[in-house]
Amino acid sequence: MMGEIEVLQPGLFSTIQDYGRMGFQKYGVPLSGAMDTYAAKTANLVLRNKVSDAVLEITQMGPKLKFHQPAKIAIAGADLSPRVEGRAVAQNSVVKINSGEVLSFGRRKIGCRAYLAVKGGFKTESIFESRSWYEGITTYFKLEKGLKLAFEANEKEKAEINAGLKPLQDYIRSGEIEVYPGPEYDVLCDAQKLLLEKTEYGIGKNNNRMAIQLAEPLVNELDAIITGPVLPGTVQLTPSGKMIVLMKDAQTTGGYPRILQLSEKGMNALAQKVMGDRIKFKLRPY
């Protein structure tokens, strides 16, 4: 049976995400998918869902959601003070919700993105083998008031607590971002390479699912490259010195030098940072 969750208030910016649209980048379609894959996976594993089940990615200020059927949910990632009918609920654990109850969020305690999984998974539309929302591909690209989200409601199914699970939390707060050298890393001079590893960079105000810009520049005189492939996690360096970290909704090709490439761990940590947070790159060899 399908259940329904109604959006009473959309909050700042929330989207349905799964692992993304692998195999469609050759058509220019962004990968998309959860920004912090670790937290999305954790929320699913707590409920013993499939790790690839679609979850709701909630950015900084959460929505108000009314459940029209009973459900079991789990929330992982950023702590945005989740409440059911006003009572606080724990992160990383199974929470039972009765029909008619409202899930809401309060003050942001740590992190940037929380992940809401529902037992059975969200069953919104699937386009090109993925439910991940992206403007122009899916009908919706962010939560809107009055929208109803379908989920697989099966009351009989038991969601026992996944006791073996000990989710990591440190990375949410940590400013350490793991990176590999990017294709154009070798074009940098030694002084620039040193700066990249020694400098603490701030998260700029332009930060969203497409890209996160860093506040401090890296002065350079690098030439543009012939437009080539880029990936989520690619750090582009513009002629003005701006560093742009491409995230999950990034375009598939670009013409700026690609100096670094974040590891998946690095991307998860960066996805939990908000404007003004400080980060430091930790370079590791392949």
């Binding site: 692998m22 195999g23 469609f24 980048q25 050759k26 058509y27 220019g28 379609v29 962004p30 386009i127 090109f128 122009g136 591909i137 590999y180 990017g182 294709p183 490259i225 012939i226 437009t227 080539g228 492939p229 990936l231 996690g233 690619t234 375009q251 598939t252 090709t253 690609r258 490439q261 974040l262 590891s263 998946e264 392949y286």
Partner: protein
């Protein structure tokens, strides 16, 4: 073969980047596409996606590459022993474009700056045969080569907030079609009613890298007629054989 190229390096934990000599040309495209085919055959059993650009291939793996150096040396061996075969047969797609002033708001600007009649611009733009290099920038945006030098024209300093779906534009040395409405800095000279990218169709783009495109001018009335045929599913984009 140049010792230095192709450069084969990991790019993150689940991709390998292959870079050929830095040049944009049809010869390079044929080389890149030849190796793309070879790579796809090589990975027959493994789920990977191979993406090409002007002079690169990106091999995307579904999950972490366990033995990255093993993978790189297997690819090096694969590329070393290859002789580039005959060029694959290209297909030609003819696409209608309405170059009216309503659908091509920047035609007047280009015409006055270049001191060229709109008719001459339309002739040069629609007589050329364009080569499809790859898709990128937006879902379904095709990078095309072959714009007549006389039509090279800089992008706008301030991008437009909204460019219509199907808009045909010129940006520097390039020409292309906006597959969806979006902000953009290209100079818009017309509109193509045929959607190049169709959501939820497999494949979403009929035209692929190495194929050829030719535009043909249509009137506003014909533009409306074709749009109607597309809405009712009566229009079929057909490929012709291209013999150069």
């Amino acid at each position: 073969m140049n010792q230095e190229f192709p450069k084969i390096k990991p790019m993150g934990e689940r991709a390998i980047l292959v870079q050929f000599e830095p040049e944009i040309s049809e010869v390079m495209l044929q080389k890149v596409l030849f190796y793309k085919d070879k790579t796809e055959v090589f990975y027959d059993e493994v789920k990977v996606e191979v993406i090409n650009t002007y002079n690169s291939l990106l091999i995307n793996y579904e999950s972490y590459i366990e033995d990255v150096y093993g993978e790189v040396s297997a690819l090096e061996k694969l590329f070393k022993n290859a002789n580039i075969a005959e060029t694959a047969e290209a297909r030609l797609f003819k696409l209608p474009v309405c170059y009216s002033s309503k659908l091509g708001p920047d035609m007047e600007l280009i015409s006055s700056e270049k001191k060229m009649e709109p008719e001459e611009i339309i002739r040069l733009h629609s007589e050329a045969i364009y080569t499809v290099y790859f898709a990128g920038f937006l879902p379904g945006f095709l990078y095309l080569g072959g714009l007549d030098e006389k039509l090279h024209f800089p992008r706008k300093n301030e991008p437009r907030l909204k460019i219509e779906k199907g808009a045909v534009g010129i940006g520097g040395k390039q020409t292309g079609i906006y597959p969806k409405s979006s902000p953009g800095g290209w100079q818009i000279i017309g509109n193509c009613p045929v959607p190049v990218f169709v959501k939820n169709k497999l494949p979403p783009i009929e035209i692929s890298a190495g194929d050829k495109i030719k535009f043909y001018p249509v009137s506003e009335a014909e533009f409306e007629k074709i749009s109607e045929e597309i809405n009712t599913g009566k229009f079929n984009l057909k490929a012709e054989k291209y013999d150069g």
